[in-house]
């Protein structure tokens, strides 16, 4: 297998996780603060949910460019019995519809919660797609943890554009927690891999030598955390930095996670 950045998949996973993150934040905000409470400068519920649906739809569109034969995409849901990719395609398709319905019918607490749960299920399935036995470093729960953290970070970050200044305290708390957890996980994972088998060690060495990995750590996690903690607010430009960092992190995920076939003939 030739390592590749897989840019369409980078785009799809990051955009779909942003959309899921937004639904999680909206559902939590609705449950804790009431969905209809909105301050000056806050987008309407319909706008918020339509934006999330739009981001997911864009992600799904980008994912088609990854296929050799995009016209066959509808058939990708025909192997639900064992293929996590089929389940992912079905779930994210349903999620986009659910988001649109939530936007059009008005985001009631129950519907918002249902959409958020469907989003969480989507993240789990996406995590399973990217944990095959051929990548020993990530043939575990790590992809799900990575994706969940990306979703929460980008969701809480992007929600700043739709939530009034006075209601951003919850977002700030979520963002600080997720960025701290992300920083810890993304720094610790390669160190753990260094103590694993040959292919895991090769993965760790590739990550630690990658400028994308360090760009993710610095610009996607550490710097935003310092800004939010230092200013005690989420500046409106921060989501752009978070997105750029997340894209770098996802590129390293696809480009530098080492496949078992690379070392055939050597020790494992």
């Amino acid at each position: 297998m030739i390592p590749s950045m897989e840019l369409p998949l980078v785009g799809f996973t990051v955009l779909s996780q942003t959309a899921v993150g937004l639904t999680l934040v909206y559902a939590l905000q609705g449950a804790l603060q009431g969905a209809d409470a909105s301050g000056a400068g806050e987008a309407s519920q319909r706008t918020k949910w339509l934006a999330a649906a739009g981001i997911l739809a864009l992600g799904l569109l980008v994912s088609l460019t990854h296929l050799g034969h995009p016209e066959g995409a509808p058939r990708a849901v025909t192997h639900l019995s064992t293929a996590w990719l089929s389940r992912e395609a079905l779930l994210f398709g349903l999620l986009a519809g659910l988001m649109a319905v939530t936007a059009l019918l008005g985001a009631g607490r129950g519907l918002a919660l249902l959409t958020a749960l469907a989003g969480l299920a989507g993240l789990f399935v996406q995590g399973m797609v990217y944990s095959p036995p051929s990548f020993p470093a990530i043939a575990n729960a790590l992809p799900f943890a990575f994706f969940l953290l990306t979703a929460v970070i980008l969701g809480a970050g992007t929600a700043v554009w739709f939530v009034a200044e006075g209601r951003r305290t919850l977002l700030r708390h979520i963002l600080v927690g997720a960025l701290s957890a992300g920083l810890l996980l993304f720094l610790v994972a390669p160190c753990v891999w260094l103590s694993g088998g040959t292919v895991m060690r090769m993965t760790a060495e590739a990550y630690l030598a990658s400028p994308f990995y360090w760009a993710h750590i610095v610009f996607g996690l550490a710097l935003p955390l310092a800004v939010v903690l230092g200013t005690r607010r989420i500046p409106s430009w921060l989501p752009v930095l978070l997105l750029a960092g997340a894209l770098c992190g996802r590129i390293v995920f696809y480009l530098d996670t080492v496949h078992t076939a690379v070392n055939i003939g050597g020790l494992y």
Partner: protein, 189 residues
């Protein structure tokens, strides 16, 4: 046990001549850069000698093929009568999931067709009572076809060093490991 065909790779006999890989290429004329069978030299940490030893590998036609399980469009089937895993390229949409998921790197991406492809164990030749092209071409009989239902060689191993250990997939390839040459030194005589 049901009939399950597999490759027997005798690394003691293999001389690394690549005839098997060339025979596969002659049979199927894959596009540039795409190979279904590859000859892997063993690294010095496994075979510590200046002479080299090799594993000739293609698809392992696993009992539980990862490619078949992860394919979202059912482009893979496993033949009931002999366990050969067949890729139906016309169904493939080129998502690359099988390529990423197979730990042995058997499925490859065909950039012209924009679809995956892999070793078929020459099932058309098998059905005609012939050996696969790679097996037929091997000058040292280092590559053979075995039926795991009847195969009984106590020296054969499934996961030799240098071959990813994936018991969940249960690959059907079996190996005889290479032996280091006997070195006679002047002081030993």
């Amino acid at each position: 046990m049901k009939k399950q065909l597999g490759f027997y790779v005798d690394a003691k006999l293999c001389i690394g001549c690549f005839t098997c890989a060339m025979a596969c290429k002659n049979q199927y004329h894959q596009v540039n850069g795409v190979v279904w069978r590859e000859v892997y030299p063993l690294k010095e940490e496994i075979y510590p000698h200046r002479e080299r030893a090799f594993y000739s590998l293609a698809c392992n036609h696993c009992e539980h093929p990862e490619c078949l399980e992860v394919c979202p469009v059912n482009a893979y089937t496993k033949r009931e009568k002999d366990g050969v895993v067949v890729h139906h390229q016309e169904k493939c949409i080129g998502c690359g999931n099988c390529i990423r998921s197979c730990p042995y790197g058997a499925p490859r991406y065909n950039p012209v067709e924009k679809r995956a492809e892999k070793c078929s164990m020459c099932w058309q030749r098998l059905d005609a009572g012939l050996d696969p092209a790679c097996v037929k071409s091997c000058p040292t009989r280092a590559l053979r076809i075995i039926d795991l239902a009847t195969f009984d060689d106590p020296n054969a191993v499934q996961f030799p060093p240098g071959f990813p250990r994936m018991p969940g997939l249960n690959p059907s390839t079996r190996f005889r490991q290479p032996e280091l040459p006997l070195i006679v030194r002047r002081e030993d005589v």
